[in-house]
């Protein structure tokens, strides 16, 4: 039964990918079922941008479902999983408000049930609750924005909005942009609307986490693309600037939180926030260039954003699947209890290493290519006249550079503490390799990371065509031959294939050189040097907490760490310590300064309004009468 369920989802994914690929290639089609629901009925349209996201969903669903076949408790939540996948596939095809909102809400509900898989655990219930609140706050924004636009244009169809966009009043357009962008940014996990993401992603089973982080939040990006570049036409510059600043903040803050996080899946969830930020840097620059009439640069920014969207889906799904294998093998998500897994799970370790290198943007893998493109898109802001906009771009460049360094540091920790050295617990010592379907899924995604890294010359023209269709210009941002990708004419070029070949050749140089100079080839295995101690144990290893400590100290204004140290001494003598308890937690500025005051305000407001609720039916009848009179007077 499980096999049948996931097998059919795999076929569904392949079909979705095929249909999406047809859309990317320029195929178009419309499906209309007006009788099914009111307000315009169901209407689906395939266009290049929708096709790209549909193909992405399809391609991510296949490995996730293969993985689920080998996942030990993959047989719970099959129905919710199917609804989740199907509704995600409808979102990028939806062509009117009704269709879009139905699919969007189904996707949110299905993922809510998947997050709430473990109904006994308080953590899981809280995660699902925060997720439900945030996602519905976002839905309320979307609903308001879409109704506003629909009423103003006089049609719920997106195609009509597109046609009428330039004639709309600026205040209506701005209001619609703010509402829709807030709704979509909440789903994408943009700072400061990210609070649900590090709670909900770890709580779901790993193949679902991979889909939530890999593709579901990308539908937020899809929405942001539609809002900022498509439905509302060419907006004022502050739209792009706002997106760029949000991207800069999300990328740096996301990676800073990830650095001090030692729950493996939460760490990955924080990195999703970071990568969404990087994608937004591309979208924001595209919007700003487009306002200034620099179409080729706008294309480049959009290509960078789309490329990073696809790349992030590949490596983040890979990392979540790897983390799932580790969590299943050790029974914990706490990195401090792991270690030494590279010897017990060599396949998972190798795949996780590729994913780590890719997300840290190390050449020649895929993360490097899209960050390179993003850098170039940001960098060419010297073609803009406005100094204010230049400074916003400068902020983007600085934050992208900082993010790269910090992400590298974070994945040294994530891979090093989890997989290297000695196991830190019995569970880690007794870990076992993942089952064959799980390995197959991870290997496929690792291969995708390598292929997307080595083949930008083949992939970029495809994104170029999609971006050109969105911006309605001719594809002209990039060129080059099979080996070298040229950007903005002769301005810059990239060849990851050449890098890979030269790196491989250079790898042989030290091998050959050692042989040539007649170096000793003897190797002796011995224990790790330890200042004369007798035996090495895992307690002597560096911990994840210690590893992250330099960062905690550098960025203490952001983390605001508190320290608590309890030492219990032996009753006889203070020279014998019985127990030491040390805690060094960080505090979230968003919880303390944004959500806590907002919730307090909400409670205070509710209490104030609560005075109206006396419980007496007569009083309620009086309210109705007063309200009726007021309405008659006002109307």
């Amino acid at each position: 039964m499980t096999r049948l369920a996931y097998g059919s989802v795999i076929l569904f994914g392949i079909a979705a990918a095929g249909l999406g690929g047809y859309g990317v290639a320029g195929g178009a089609g419309t499906l209309r079922l007006t009788w099914l629901v009111p307000l315009g009925g169901i209407e689906l349209t395939l266009d290049p941008l929708g096709g790209l996201f549909l193909a992405l969903i399809g391609l991510a669903v296949v490995p996730a479902s293969v993985y689920a076949l080998g996942y030990p408790d993959g047989d719970t939540g099959r129905f919710a999983y199917f609804v989740f996948v199907a509704s995600m596939c409808v979102v990028p095809l939806a062509a009117n408000t009704m269709t879009f909102l139905i699919a969007w809400e189904l996707m949110s509900l299905a993922s809510y049930f998947l997050v709430l898989r473990d109904r006994e655990s308080r953590e899981s219930i809280r995660a699902a609750w925060v997720y439900a609140v945030m996602t519905h706050a976002g839905l309320a924004c979307l609903l308001a924005g879409m109704l506003l636009l629909g009423a103003d244009v006089g049609s719920p169809r997106f195609a009509d909005w597109r046609a009428a966009a330039s004639a709309l009043a600026p205040t209506t357009r701005d209001a619609a942009f703010v509402l829709l962008a807030l709704g979509f940014a909440g789903k994408a996990g943009v700072i400061p609307l990210h609070v649900w993401l590090p709670l909900a992603h770890p709580a779901a089973p790993s193949h679902v986490s991979a889909l939530m982080s890999g593709v579901m939040i990308k539908l937020g990006i899809y929405g942001l693309l539609r809002v900022s570049l498509d439905w509302l036409g060419v907006g004022p510059p502050w739209w792009g600037a706002a997106l760029l600043i949000a991207g800069a903040a999300s990328s740096v803050i996301g990676v800073l939180y990830a650095l001090v996080e030692h729950d493996l899946k939460r760490l990955l969830a924080f990195h999703s926030i970071e990568n969404i930020g990087i994608i937004l840097l591309g979208i924001g620059s595209a919007a700003l260039y487009r306002v200034a009439g620099l179409d080729a640069l706008a294309l480049l920014g959009l290509i960078a954003a789309l490329y990073h969207t696809v790349n992030h889906a590949a490596f983040k799904a890979l990392l979540f699947l790897g983390a799932g294998a580790v969590v299943h093998a050790t029974g914990t998500r706490n990195m401090e209890a792991m270690g030494g897994l590279i010897k017990r799970m060599p396949w998972t370790a190798a795949c996780f290493l590729i994913g780590s290198a890719a997300i840290a943007a190390l050449p020649p893998l895929n993360g490097f290519v899209s960050e390179w493109l993003t850098f170039l898109a940001l960098f060419q802001n010297m073609r803009l006249e406005s100094v204010g906009q230049n400074l916003v771009f400068t902020l983007g460049i600085a934050s992208l550079a900082l993010t790269g360094g910090l992400a590298m540091a974070c994945f040294v920790k994530a891979f090093g503490i989890t997989f290297l050295a000695l196991p830190r617990s019995d569970a880690a010592a007794g870990a076992h390799e993942a089952s064959p379907p799980m390995r197959l899924a991870m290997l496929a995604l690792a291969a995708a990371c390598v292929a997307l890294g080595l083949g930008p010359t083949l992939v970029v023209p495809v994104f170029g065509a999609v971006a050109a269709a969105v911006l309605r210009t001719a594809p002209q941002a990039t060129g080059g031959d099979w080996l070298t990708l040229r950007v903005s004419g002769e301005f810059a070029s990239l060849s990851t294939a050449a890098i890979a070949v030269v790196l491989a050749a250079s790898f042989l140089v030290p091998l050959a050189a050692l042989r040539l100079v007649g170096a000793s080839r003897r190797t002796r295995g011995y224990e790790t040097w330890g200042c004369g101690r007798i035996v090495q144990t895992a307690r002597m290893e560096y911990t994840a907490t210690a590893f992250a400590n330099p960062f905690k100290r550098v960025f203490d204004f952001f983390y605001r760490p508190t320290k608590r140290l309890d030492i219990e001494f032996h009753p006889e003598s203070r020279f014998f310590v019985e127990r030491i308890e040390y805690e060094n937690p960080t505090r979230s500025i968003f919880d303390d300064w944004l959500y806590r005051p907002a919730l307090d305000l909400l409670h205070a407001g509710a209490r104030a309004v609560g005075a109206l609720q006396s419980g007496s039916a007569n009083q309620y009848l009086a309210y109705i009468l007063v309200a009726l009179l007021l309405m008659l007077v006002l109307a």
Binding site: G405, M408, A409, A492, A498, R521, T528, W529, F547, F551
Partner: protein, 314 residues
């Protein structure tokens, strides 16, 4: 094509063979400055010979990551040597990604070296790794931002063309953006190559060390490779600083004469820079470890200001 490959080989040989001499000369100079005779500048080559003759002792705790890292590290630096304009303004691999590639290649090396530091499971290695990535995470972005500030004013991100542009129009260098970028880059060079006041290359004292702690577990040929890589990194950073901010003497690779002239210019510039670094290292004390990130954050801020200055002063 043939000329390109020949130039690539020349460049790799200059960097690979010259790097130990640079380290040796720096040590000799430092010794002389404090009144010691010190070892000969050729001492690092003798050290390599000794290390290569010894057997390698590898901890049984480690995995393949530990054994592969020295080779990966050397490979990344050899590729980097092809991206930096060393003796001509047309480095052979410049088409493959330029300054961004350069920085991320350094990061690739740091990534594996830091993993190897964790692999042996001793507290030393972990401590070194943690500190090294903390330094690298703040230093490497600074390189990108500082070089971008130069690139914006030269209107190209091609390192060779930046050198060419500033070599042709030296008055461009008299600009606040340029000076800020220089200050930022200089601090980063010291940090990235483990010099004073960030790290002390001459000590194995566990409380202060960064890089040396991370590679503590290496021995024999592995240690030789790691040390060679460190020397190449120092060489490349100093070359980059010298050629970007003192852009004279480099031309297009029109023939052996041009390459030779570039080599002579580079030798002169590196000699001056070596004296400067040696004097600096003799004059300053090592910073407390947790002051180091503040210094680096300061250099990142300088680079950021430099980038902003490009727009504000244009």
């Amino acid at each position: 094509m043939i000329a390109g490959i020949a130039l690539a080989i020349v460049q790799v040989v200059i960097v690979g063979a010259g790097a130990p001499l640079l380290v040796g000369a720096l040590r000799t100079l430092k010794a002389r400055l404090v009144g010691r005779r010190g070892p000969s500048p050729w001492q690092p080559y003798a050290d390599f010979r000794k290390l290569l003759a010894k057997e390698a002792v590898v901890s049984t705790t480690t995995s393949w990551v530990f054994r592969a890292t020295p080779y990966i590290l050397v490979a990344t630096l050899l590729v980097t040597a092809l991206v930096v304009p060393v003796v001509t303004v047309r480095p052979p691999l410049t088409f493959a990604g330029n300054i961004i590639l350069l920085v991320y290649l350094f990061m690739l090396g740091t990534f594996f070296l830091a993993l190897a530091g964790l692999d042996a499971g001793s507290a030393f290695g972990g401590m070194g790794s943690s500190r090294e990535v903390a330094v690298a995470a703040l230093a490497e972005p600074t390189v990108i931002v500082a070089v971008f500030a130069l690139a914006l004013r030269a209107d190209t991100i091609d390192l060779g063309r930046i050198v060419e542009r500033f070599g042709g129009e030296p008055w461009l260098a008299a600009n606040p953006a340029h000076l800020l970028a220089f200050a930022a880059f200089f601090i980063v060079m010291l940090a990235e190559t483990g010099r004073l006041p960030v790290d002390n290359p001459a000590t194995h004292l566990e409380l202060t060390m960064i890089h040396e702690a991370m590679v503590l577990e290496y021995s024999g040929r592995h240690l030789a490779l790691v040390e060679w890589a460190s020397a190449m990194k120092l060489f490349l950073f100093m070359t980059l600083l010298a050629n970007l901010f003192v852009p004279w003497g480099l031309t297009e690779p029109s023939g052996p004469v041009a390459v030779l002239r570039g080599l002579l210019a580079l030798t002169g510039k590196l000699a001056l820079l070596t004296i400067a670094v040696a004097v600096l290292e003799t004059a300053v004390a090592k910073l407390r470890l947790f002051r180091v990130p503040e210094l680096l954050a300061g250099s990142f801020a300088l680079a950021f200001l430099s980038l902003m200055a490009v727009f504000l002063v244009r």
